[in-house]
């Protein structure tokens, strides 16, 4: 039985990793070798594709822009979502269920629906082509998701802890920062992971709301593709570099994620 499980899992993992391996391997090949034929390993190992990206400002600023607005988005989202999730997990208030549902619908509605007015709205308030603008736009789907996940974790913390703290003379902000947040550390880790993921992978809004100054790497990639044929090597290298930040993030939160998943709450 256990052997069968391991086998099945291995097959699935190979299925997951093979396309990524292919991309990685291609990023070390020159274009002529890529188009020359199929091989599992580069004949001549070259870093030219990566050099192109690191020396050309349109490429590397794309990365900096993406990282910058994703970080902003994480900060904003966590700041507003933590108290809100606490309110949802601890209190009944007027319209709470409807408010919660309304928040969720924003996670569910396609960005394409709001594309044109988004452009108009953000231009009219001067947020077009700024990092903070993209970060705010991504809050539309990340804040509801963060509230949803955090609410699940917070409901798992017994109420007695709150009550004891208040009896001991803690004020709400002090209790929240000193006692409550450390208790749900794993939950915050998992939430941060999901916020990062959805903001990092999103393209449609980020591309529409930027032109030059805050252009994300994903948009740089699509435009380069359409410009002058396809430079497969550089494209593959750029792809590999967009996966790296995700790997770094997941490495940092790995224990929280494992524990958060193990707690049975997502």
């Amino acid at each position: 039985m256990n052997k069968k499980k391991t086998l099945g899992l291995s097959v699935y993992i190979i299925f997951l990793l093979l396309p990524i391996y292919w991309l990685l391997m291609m990023s070390f090949k020159s274009n002529s070798e890529i188009l020359g034929g199929l091989s599992f390993w580069p004949d001549t190992f070259t870093f030219d594709n990566y050099m192109t990206i690191f020396t050309d400002p349109t490429w590397y600023t794309g990365y900096l822009n993406s990282i910058y607005y994703v970080a902003l988005n994480m900060i904003i989202t966590l700041t507003v979502a933590l108290p809100a999730a606490y309110a949802f997990s601890r209190y009944n208030f007027m319209g709470d269920k409807h408010l919660f549902f309304w928040l969720l619908t924003n996670r569910m509605s396609p960005p394409a629906v709001f594309l044109l007015p988004f452009f108009q709205l953000y231009s009219s308030v001067g947020l077009f082509d700024t990092h903070i603008g993209v970060a705010l736009a991504h809050c539309l789907f990340n804040v509801p998701l963060a509230v949803w996940i955090l609410e699940g974790f917070m409901s798992g913390v017994p109420r007695e802890i709150d009550e004891t703290a208040y009896i001991d003379g803690y004020t709400f902000p002090k209790f929240f920062a000193k006692i409550f947040l450390p208790l749900i550390r794993s939950g915050i880790g998992v939430t941060a992971f999901f916020i990062f993921m959805f903001s990092w992978v999103e393209l449609l809004l980020a591309r529409t709301l930027t032109s030059v100054d805050a252009k994300p790497i994903a948009a740089v990639m699509t435009r380069t593709v359409s410009a002058s044929g396809i430079d497969w090597g550089v494209l593959a290298a750029a792809g590999v570099l967009t996966i790296l930040p995700g790997v770094v993030v997941i490495w940092f939160v790995r224990n929280h994620v494992a524990k958060g998943f193990a707690l049975g709450r997502v």
Binding site: M94, G95, K97, H98, P117, Q120, L121, S124
Partner: protein, 90 residues
């Protein structure tokens, strides 16, 4: 506000929605809702019922617009009657 391209009918529509929400809030303050089971398959509060009726009103309108050439007053009347039925017996 020019880019929002307001028209009188759409402005009236949103004022109407706003009024409905406001009325619901006031009603809630005066007499808090009690969740109850009516002909709908789930237990609903007053807020749920108004949402259900508004959403179905939207689909009633879409159905009439898509399938028939009848004037809008027909689906509007049906939607309003439906709203009262759901609010009363939902």
């Amino acid at each position: 506000m020019e880019w929002m391209a307001w028209t009188t009918p759409s402005a009236l529509f949103f004022v109407g929605i706003g009024c409905i929400i406001l009325t619901m809030v006031c009603w809630e303050i005066v007499s808090p809702t009690v969740a109850s089971k009516g002909f709908l398959p789930i237990i609903t509060t007053r807020g749920d019922r108004i949402f259900i009726s508004l959403l179905s009103a939207a689909f009633i309108h879409l159905g009439f617009i898509g399938l028939t050439m009848l004037p809008l007053s027909v689906p509007l009347t049906i939607a309003i009657i439906w709203l009262f039925i759901v609010m009363k017996w939902g």
